[in-house]
């Protein structure tokens, strides 16, 4: 996939031809993953036709609460991001990274290298493209390249969707990641009456686009698409002031707000699991009963798991205060030092899916309202666990 930032070609795709897009991608050998309704939510799963999309449905989201609702129209993409993110396809929740078999001549060590499926992701939002770019920095652009991520990411075809509405939990405008997709896609759709404005953003996107039964997009269609996209911007109410956020947090490691949030936080890991940029995993060796066959398993893990900071002799972050603070200060502060970007793209998932309604934007705002003494050096020592 080419992460070009320019739109190369723009057309109009009639509503009933969305299925042709999916069929074309499938004929090209892609496994098409898109939004679909399951377990009372819009999740990402394999879809074979446009009939499986949540047409006519929307989501109502607030801190700690998600509900599906019927729309009064039959829009295909009239909702925002849900409990899943594309990271479960690019960075699978569990994977075997190595195997070892004991034989007469000793151990035979292997790295499984199955060819992963070539995914086409349908309905990727701007904040989600931004999240992929964050994970690219983590998995591809550092000294160690993650081969599992790389194969999947290189092969993926991205059909983005410009949001035409926002949830009360969205704050991409604060993080400057959306709602308009400005690159990092092969194709991008904006849903309007009767069809979609479809743009291509890569050579692979051009190739698919020229095989679709499109019509030229006229001025009216462009104007409609523009106002649909503006509607999403106008609906965004949540903000997070990102200015100087790194220093603010690192200068306030002993702020009383950490104690307060620790009385509410369950350390349940949900926020990190739903976050499209969180990338932590743990690796363990699993043997059979004889010990002759051993597998090395990698699984999603979380800084909220007490065992995650276990080192020889004990647990480093042995309290909820310490674990919540680790999460927030990594995501919003030390991520900048490590990856030269914020770890937050403003998708709002951690707010919706926190069972006790903890909202990171409120935590940040509370610290901003009564910051400690900024002349104190940004301590990296943990004075209190």
């Amino acid at each position: 996939m080419d992460c070009g930032t320019e739109v190369r070609r723009t057309e109009f795709l009639p509503t009933d031809q969305l299925s042709t897009l999916i069929a074309t991608l499938r004929a090209d050998g892609f496994r098409t993953i898109g939004p679909t309704i399951d377990q009372g939510a819009i999740i990402y799963d394999e879809i074979e036709s446009a009939d499986e999309l949540p047409r006519g449905w929307t989501d109502r989201q607030e801190a700690g609460k998600y509900r599906l609702e019927k729309r009064d129209d039959d829009a295909y993409f009239g909702y925002v991001v849900g409990p899943h993110s594309w990271k479960r396809f690019l960075f699978p929740p569990s994977a075997v990274v190595a195997t070892a078999d004991r034989g007469d001549a000793g151990w035979d060590l292997r790295t499984p290298d199955h060819e992963p499926p070539r995914y086409a992701f349908l309905g990727v939002r701007a904040c989600e493209i931004a999240a992929m770019k964050v994970q690219d920095r983590v998995f591809l652009e550092g000294p160690y390249v993650d081969p599992i991520y790389k194969k999947r990411r290189d092969a993926a075809f991205i059909v983005a969707v410009n949001c035409t509405q926002a949830a009360s939990t969205c704050f991409c405008t604060s993080m400057q990641t959306g709602p308009r997709c400005k690159g990092g896609f092969d194709l991008a759709l904006t849903e309007i009456d009767g069809g979609f404005i479809i743009e291509s953003g890569s050579a692979a996107g051009d190739d698919v686009l020229q095989r679709l039964p499109t019509a030229p997009a006229d001025e009216t269609a462009f104007a409609r698409a523009e106002s649909a996209r503006q509607q999403a911007v106008d609906q965004i109410t949540k903000t997070m002031d990102a200015e100087g956020l790194r220093d603010l947090l690192l200068q306030n490691l002993d702020h009383p707000r950490w104690d307060e949030v620790a009385t509410r936080c369950l350390s349940c890991t949900n926020c990190t699991m739903v976050c499209p940029t969180c990338f932590c995993s743990s690796v363990s060796e699993v043997s059979d009963l004889t010990g002759d066959h051993v597998e090395r398993h990698r699984q999603w893990d979380s800084c909220f798991n007490i065992d995650f900071s276990y080192m020889n002799g004990g647990v480093v972050r042995n309290g909820i205060r310490s674990r919540y603070r680790q999460w927030l200060t990594h995501k919003l502060a030390s991520w900048h030092d490590q990856f030269d970007t914020s770890g937050c793209v403003g998708c709002g998932r951690c707010i919706t899916w926190c069972p006790v309604e903890i909202d990171l934007t409120e935590e940040v705002a509370a610290i901003r309202r009564s910051p400690g003494d900024p002349s104190r050096p940004a301590a990296d020592t943990e004075s209190k666990p």
């Binding site: 939510a41 001549a105 000793g106 035979d108 936080c265 699991m273 010990g291 069972p355 006790v356």
Partner: protein, 279 residues
């Protein structure tokens, strides 16, 4: 292909001797061992099963390398027997909610057990029981706890594998939520408003209940450092009642301290509520 590495583990001198003991319980956890169909032969080959009445009436006297102990202590006789089991066992593993926290039968700890005896038995004077159902750890030192009602056979196999290779067993202590997310289950609490104990419950089952649109009912007992009060006040604020939440906590692991205490606090606040806020 990578070249083979010339290194093997030292052979184990002799087979480890395994014993399985039962106290007040339903036998479900012991059955998990028999349920390891595929691995059962390998288990029988790798360890010497010296005492396991559920599987064989033949038994060997102690001492044992590993004792798997199922069930809680509810009679004076069992309170003595567990001491003997401890004396005979090098590494004692409790299996299941009964052995680890007193089990569902610990609900009698909140009631008058003499009254139960009168209701159930024609001749209660022949029954010799204790007032409370207590965990094995309340009586003897426990080396490792395997949670669950019943235990998970993969975790049981992990215990057996660790015993064979001479290392400590590894079982995670994090919340059920982490496993819901790994398997892609949508949170039943957030999406459907079902009160779920997952955030404060230790994983081990693989997050089964939420995948069937049910809330977790805590059968693996409390996760590490559970914040029970935050969860219960959240559920009370979003429409759950004391009548739902107290039995949710006072359930299979009713007597595990975090669930016991959080449930007791709810009982107290329910009393306060019904008396118009006055004690």
């Amino acid at each position: 292909m990578n070249p083979p590495i010339q290194q093997t583990l030292p052979p184990i001198a002799r087979k480890q001797r395994l014993a399985v003991f039962k106290f007040a319980s339903c036998d479900g956890c012991q059955l998990s061992l028999l349920d390891c169909e595929d691995e059962l032969l390998a288990v029988a080959e790798a360890v010497e099963i010296a005492y396991f009445l559920e599987a064989s009436s033949h038994f060997e006297p102690g001492p044992y390398d590993v004792a798997l102990v199922e069930g809680s202590i509810t009679t004076p006789h069992d309170a003595e027997r567990i001491q003997e089991v401890r004396r005979q066992s090098r590494f004692l593993v409790t299996i299941g909610a009964c052995a680890t926290s007193g089990g569902i039968q610990s609900l009698k700890n909140w009631a008058d057990h003499q009254e139960f005896l009168r209701c159930v038995y024609a001749r209660p004077e022949y029954i010799s029981t204790l007032n409370d159902s207590t965990a094995i750890a309340d009586h003897v030192t426990v080396d490792f706890e395997l949670r669950g009602c019943p235990i998970n056979r993969h975790q049981l196999l992990e215990v057996l594998k660790s015993l064979i290779s001479g290392r400590r067993p590894r079982t995670p202590t994090h919340s059920v939520c982490l496993d819901c997310k790994r398997r892609g289950t949508v949170c039943v609490e957030v999406a459907q408003g079902i009160p779920c104990l997952g955030p404060i419950t230790q994983t081990g089952c693989g997050a089964i209940c939420p995948s069937y649109d049910r809330g977790c009912y805590g059968c693996y007992g409390p996760a590490a450092q559970p914040n029970c009060d935050s969860l219960t006040s959240q559920y009370l604020n979003t429409g759950s009642t004391h009548e739902t939440l107290i039995p949710l906590l006072h359930n299979f692991n009713a007597d595990s301290p975090p669930f016991r205490d959080a449930g007791n606090r709810l009982r107290q606040s329910a009393v306060l509520d019904s008396s118009g806020g006055r004690p």
